[in-house]
Subunit: 126 residues, 2 copies
DNA sequence: CCGCATCCCTAGTGATACTG
DNA sequence: CAGTATCACTAGGGATGCGG
């Protein structure tokens, strides 16, 4: 779907192999995906809740980002057949297993981003 | 430059703060950046060497990716004033400090990417 | 309430020709 | 050798309106 980058020298022929790091990178390449994962790591959320938590995102975009995370099995979508409809999103085991990676990235980012302010919020802590 | 994603709820006013995880993500968001960092983590490379190591990349793109990594202080550019010109690229301390993050991402990717083949090359091991 | 379909727009990539 | 400049192209984001 996104851009899959073969490692180059190890690519066989037309069978392009994917570097695991690049795979991980591409998983969260969507503009809102990391933030979505972060919110869902704290609690299950309904569609409209997520939209409110992500100021500026439109329904269409939110839907697409969630669908892609679903396809990658990072996010679980639970549909309640009620009227009015109710849909809840949560992390799958795979999604939960990604939280430590988020933490590492956050730690490194905190140490290395040129911050005018000295302290920045850790994204995975409450 | 790239897309900087404010965390949303903690954004002050027009002063948008950046989530450290998102910062890290954006640093390596270029299509070839991770692969470039990987190659440079193994050894210093000249411009043409890098181009040969990245099949399909054009000079213009390679230049821009390198310039951006330079601006972020991930990569050091050493120019030798000779004829013909010679330029060598290597990792800065910041760039080197990122290698463990690459490793974590690689490990997670290896465990979770749906691989038809059972084993995939670790990107940072020789 | 949730989401899809559609269209527009921009950023980023790709390709080529030219230069110190 | 190591770029720069230019243009074309594409993927992805954003906005809106309709539908179950």
């Amino acid at each position: 779907m996104a851009r899959f980058i073969p490692q180059g020298e190890i690519v066989p022929k037309g069978q392009e192999e994917l570097c695991p790091v690049t795979y991980t990178q591409n998983l969260t390449a969507g503009k809102w995906k990391i933030t979505i994962l972060w919110h869902l790591s704290k609690q299950t959320r309904r569609f409209n809740e997520l939209q409110r938590l992500l100021p500026g995102i439109s329904k269409g975009i939110l839907t697409r980002q969630l669908r892609e995370l679903e396809e990658e099995e990072m996010v679980h979508r639970e549909v309640y057949k009620e009227v009015p409809p109710k849909v809840e999103y949560s992390l799958t085991p795979k999604g939960k297993s990604f939280i430590p990676v988020l933490n590492i990235m956050g730690e490194w980012g905190n140490e290395h981003m040129k911050s005018n302010q000295k302290e920045l919020k850790p994204v995975t802590k409450d």
